[in-house]
Subunit: 401 residues, 2 copies
């Protein structure tokens, strides 16, 4: 399946600006990431996060600092980004996770099942990259509405739960004619609002049943409320929004849900155009990479250094990462390090370099995947600033002393 | 290389009790793990640990509860066991980790180097099982002195740091005639005591240079003080004590250190015998496994269940895990799940089973490694209760309602 950006490219709906390749070069990491305005406090449900390693954009959006990414493959829970579409439910829903009930519909024998009983059906462990559709929105030039994420609305984490396939099998299999898996979050609906306009309900193609999990564990601990506990749907290789939190209902359906978040939201379209169902949906993630070390927060010393970062490719594996120190004029192949955790995880890459005193460097990385895709140089302009995988904007400007 | 228990077996130094296989069967999980005495408070340097998931034995020994192990491959920092041989240094040594200095000796160009400069030399990421030599001591019958660990003085974690080989290469290579890598911890020596009697200084065979790391990161974050930050030596496949914390000095030496912790400590010998340098040292870990789900804390419901656990084999890979529900009378092969993180990590195993109402089950697991070793049924009796990998003691008694 195509990524939404590839699908959009195919549709030839580019704005003239993007088609002409006139995206401006804005790896303004030094200016924007080190000038720290008075930080917003962590919201109560995420008070346990490491405040120094994150940027609180709002009570529902928390970003991992580029400088906080380590080199241990995974992003630990206390620095992992948070993005909620609605206010999370009350904390008490994770107090007895096993008692949480989910409705399974669109199967031959529909019914409700508790997390305790899901745990009896099977267990699987899967590392995936979780990434917000708007990661990189902060690099767009047209003030796309939404959180101005740079690189930190993403993380590689371990999920553990039951394969959706095992749950469906225990309920007689998918009912006939169902092309989608439609999952509903358990957030409380605000009063006086048409639920369709706010409910978190997402549909993905039914073939994801082969890889999806209903997960109760994140990096070795019960999923915290901030990350969708007690039960979250994991659709490997898909953007974060499809990984529905606090799963209340999982249904196999003959069409996509008509909830706004699916019908008109998370659709890739030209700037100024309204969302509509015929536009590409934010499903599969595109190939992407960025440099995490050095992170560009302050000057670095001359001499040998290890330039490292992360790369992933949605449902495909990453095949190659190149690194440039001169903003893309010349490239060298980086080496992967750390274990290969499979297609849905990210790979770490490193290139040893020699930085010269007084030098000005623009570090960029460019990943290619096993399906033959390579990160483009420029972002694909689009109304909501989705799916940014242009390598130029994600660069790090560096001053060497 | 042989594990210390295998070496000891070869030396034919068994006590008559062990040789006759008369070890008593003590999988008394229900009685011992669920009867919670008033819990000791977490020590200040580890106050950030998840108190509900750990057992505080003393200010220097904290165990992960069997029921707290998840199924996400890794054990997160806040539930990982702690074992310090001395009081840890002051918290301020991790405040500026990059400034920490380590002396490198026994190389052609010896010298001191900061963590900041170590980071310039290379980067590697390695998942390993960290396990205390005395893990399982609580199952011995002779009241071996030391913390009465059951299964929770172990965890699989990601380390990131610089290969020791890269550091040594930058200093001209190992000096001639050096057979050991001898590493010294940075703890403050208590006043009025001969340092040799208390210092944490361990020697391992020099060939470990091929795999060892000087690590600054644990599971994606700077190593906390409790786990040896700012800098810890990681010797993959070796017992925890060799993974020296707060590394102050790393030296290549022609003989093992004569510090007590090496000369007479961490030596496998018969009950009642004093430690001596000719006894096997606690170096390579033996093949071992245990069941984590169900953990035996309370009855389980009849019906289908997933019996799962973890298995590892020191420097060898795990090849096979069998599970028995009847205390070892009959066995079935378990299936591995989750990614294979390499020889030094653990593998997760699972066996789907049917528990009958009113049944009494004794769940045990038995792992085999790629070198042809299989866990023995019984513990090998030894003075300090080291290296317990007998499968019988590690079982879980289960009541099904």
């Amino acid at each position: 399946m195509e990524s939404p950006i590839d699908a959009r490219r195919r549709q030839m709906l580019f704005t003239s600006v993007a088609a002409a390749g006139l995206g401006t070069f804005t790896p303004t990491v030094l200016a924007q990431e080190t000038a720290k305005p008075k930080p917003k406090p962590l919201p109560k449900y995420a008070a346990w996060k490491n405040a120094e390693s994150v940027i609180v954009h709002s009570s529902n959006t928390i970003e991992t600092r580029r400088s906080a990414f380590g080199t241990s493959m995974i992003v630990p829970n206390d620095i992992l980004f948070v993005r909620n579409n609605l206010t999370p439910p009350e904390q008490d829903i994770v107090a007895d996770a096993n008692a949480w009930t989910v409705e399974i519909a669109g199967v031959r024998h529909p019914g409700k099942i508790t997390v305790a009983d899901l745990k009896r059906l099977g267990v699987a462990t899967l590392p995936t990259v979780l990434q917000c559709s708007g990661n990189g929105r902060g690099f767009f030039g047209h003030k796309a509405s939404g959180t101005q994420w740079k690189v930190g609305a993403a993380g590689c984490v371990f999920w553990s739960g039951v394969p959706v396939a095992a749950v469906v099998e225990s309920m007689g299999g998918v009912a006939e004619g169902m092309g989608y898996m439609t999952t509903t979050g358990g957030e409380k609906m605000p009063a006086g609002v048409d639920p369709k306009t706010v409910i978190v309900e997402r549909s993905v193609p039914v073939q994801n049943i082969k890889t999806a999990l209903l997960a109760w564990e994140l990096n070795g601990e019960p999923i915290p409320l901030a990350h969708g506990g007690p039960l979250r749907l994991i659709v490997p290789g898909y953007y974060g929004v499809n990984n529905v939190k606090y799963v209340d209902r999982l249904a196999f359906t003959d069409r996509e849900t008509d909830a706004n978040i699916q019908r008109t939201g998370y659709r890739v379209r030209d700037i100024g155009v309204k969302g509509a169902p015929d536009q590409p949906s934010m499903w599969e993630m595109s190939v992407k990479s960025w440099i995490t070390h050095p992170a560009g927060e302050g000057p670095v010393r001359a001499g040998t250094a290890q330039v490292s970062g992360v790369a992933f490719a949605g449902v495909n594996g990453v095949k190659r990462v190149e690194v440039s120190l001169d903003g893309g004029k010349t490239w060298k192949d980086a080496r992967f390090f750390g274990p290969d955790l499979g297609h849905y995880a990210w790979r770490q890459f490193v290139l040893p370099v020699e930085f010269k005193a007084g030098g000005n460097y623009t570090l960029v990385s460019r990943a290619s995947d096993t399906a033959g895709n390579t990160q483009p140089e420029l972002r694909q302009e689009n109304e909501r600033g989705y799916a940014h995988n242009g390598w130029r904007d994600h660069g790090v400007k560096l001053i060497v002393t």
